[in-house]
């Protein structure tokens, strides 16, 4: 089995930490893991596409995902989900999108309004097998005081919903290593995500 996950979002949202979390969990399960983070000019505010690929050593030989070949795209920001369609195709890709928008300053400067969630979903449809929208960041703010916990909630959701083929325990272990200073909060956020995923993402 080979699985390609793409994570995208805006610098500062915790995309990089979450990517490492998933990579570690896959590694704990004995998968051969490769991945890459395409960041540079974006401490905060720029786009950060990252990849995790896992499977057997033979199957996973390069860190990047080829065009139209992601199994799962986790978008931490709705607008960036549209730009991630480069890695998606109708037969293969499931999108899970956090509905918390981060409006780029260019929407104001160039007077190009930020699109509605419906417009965004319509544009993604030709590239997606399934599209799921969750309110992970909002839950993070509501339950844990910060949108940053939305990432762990989202990871919990795709795990609980069976969209990320990794075991819950491997992710719990990975969280302990990846977010050492905020373990307790992140583990709680993960449990909340699992529940959310079982309710909203599980295939009937």
């Amino acid at each position: 089995m080979k699985f390609n996950v793409m994570l995208t979002g805006v610098g500062g949202e915790g995309v990089l930490t979450t990517q490492v979390m998933i990579a570690r969990a896959a590694n704990i399960e004995g998968h051969y893991v490769r991945g890459v983070q395409l960041h540079g000019l974006a401490q905060r505010g720029g786009v950060i596409p990252t990849f995790v690929r896992f499977g057997s050593e033979k199957e996973v030989s390069s860190p990047g995902i080829m065009q139209a070949n992601a199994n799962l795209i986790l978008a931490f920001e709705p607008l960036e989900a549209v730009r991630a369609t480069y890695y998606a195709r109708k037969e293969k890709t499931t999108f899970v999108i956090d509905d918390y928008p981060l409006v780029p300053i260019y929407a104001n400067i160039l007077n190009v309004p930020y699109p509605s969630l419906n417009e965004i979903i319509e544009r993604i449809k030709p590239f997606a097998k399934e599209i799921h929208v969750l309110n992970a960041s909002r839950l993070g703010i509501e339950k844990f005081g910060s949108a940053i916990f939305g990432n762990t909630i989202l990871v919990g959701a795709v795990t609980g919903g069976g969209l990320l083929p990794l075991r819950e325990d491997s992710l719990r272990e990975a969280i302990k290593v990846s977010a050492p200073r905020y373990v307790e909060g992140n583990l709680k956020a993960f449990e909340l995500g699992l529940q959310l995923g079982r309710e909203k993402l599980s295939r009937r």
Binding site: R44, M66, L110
Partner: protein
């Protein structure tokens, strides 16, 4: 598969062709000198070598993706919310306007190349901004301002500043040193002015103002988060002939936040008083902090300007930029 310049390729060709002049060696004939060699680049090159088609239409997919996001706002890289550089750029533009030549250099402030800042007219290599603008100052009637970061100044800005003094043709540029205390762009590494080494050992910090004075420059120092102080210092320096330096000093806000978090403290947050806001758009379109968002409220589609508390890092510069005095700190729990 050698990305960028064909260094290995040329050497390999040289050695290999001595042994067998008929050997076919492909490289830059099939692949570009720029960009990352991902599968989209490598597969078509291999198809040419082997004369086979794998049947993947990369271009078609690329076009479909481009049309998917057509009409949606772009997300170019921006200076962080709370960045001291945004404040400095804003004050410099206020004093020097759009007809000044702005030299850029290597650091976070390279992002000043984008709108609405547009204050990096040329960027060559580390320290070149100061050196090149020295020459421009001699031949141009326009004012010249050279931006340089603190670590770049230590790395490559001292020789050109000394040269301003040595070869002073009566029109040296103003140097604005953006001193945020660390090498921010690459991840907060220390420099001689930081006060600690790469190993984390404490050392005496070299003071930029002392170095600049020793190299013959007139020096002013301003708090990078204080618009009034910045504008006053810049106006004063504008009238001075000869080598002149403004040190705009304000810690990288991400570093400040990290220090606050380590102590269990939170940064202040700001909000816009909707009764005072006249929707002039200066905060979003001119100052353009990513934490300030214009949203349309249905059903009237009236714009409302708000500060996203999740993004705001509490630098308080927007408070000084707002002409209506509509921005103020959010009261914390227990505060009156």
């Amino acid at each position: 598969l050698e990305e960028l310049e064909p260094i290995l390729e040329d050497f390999v060709k040289q050695v290999a062709k001595e042994v067998n002049p008929n050997l076919l060696i492909h490289g830059k004939d099939l692949l570009p000198r720029y960009d990352e060699y991902n599968l989209e680049k490598v597969i078509p090159a291999l198809e040419k070598v082997f004369g086979k088609k794998l049947g993947i239409d990369f271009a078609d997919h690329r076009e479909r993706v481009a049309s998917a996001s057509e009409g949606f706002p772009p997300r170019k890289p921006v200076l962080c919310p709370g960045c001291p550089h945004r404040s400095t750029f804003y004050a410099v533009k206020k004093v020097f306007g759009n007809q000044t030549i702005y030299a850029g250099d290597i650091g976070c402030y390279i992002l000043g190349i984008f709108e609405p800042i547009n204050m990096q007219d040329f960027i060559v290599s580390m320290g070149a901004g100061m050196g090149v603008s020295h020459g421009i100052g001699i031949v141009s009637d326009q004012d010249v301002v050279a931006f340089v970061g603190d670590s770049t100044f230590f790395h490559a800005g001292m020789p050109p500043l000394l040269n301003y003094k040595f070869n002073d043709f009566g029109k040296t540029p103003l140097v604005v040193i953006l001193d945020n205390a660390v090498t921010a762009m690459t991840g907060h590494q220390p420099h001689p002015g930081s006060g600690f080494t790469g190993m984390g050992d404490k050392v005496e910090a070299v003071k930029i103002e002392e170095v600049a004075k020793a190299l013959g420059a007139e020096v002013r120092i301003s708090n990078a988060f204080n618009q009034k102080q910045l504008v006053e210092a810049l106006r004063e320096l504008k009238g001075i002939k000869g080598p002149k330096v403004l040190i705009s000093r304000g810690e990288c806000r991400l570093l400040t936040r990290r220090k606050f978090r380590a102590k269990g403290l939170t940064l202040p947050k700001f909000q816009i008083d909707q009764d005072k806001c006249t929707k002039c758009g200066i905060c979003t379109n001119n100052f353009a902090c990513p934490a300030i968002v214009k949203t349309m409220v249905k059903p009237e589609r009236e714009p409302v300007y708000i500060i996203d508390p999740e993004t705001c890092l509490g630098c308080a510069v927007c408070v000084q930029v707002c002409p209506e005095g509509a921005i103020h700190a959010v009261k914390r729990e227990g505060e009156k």
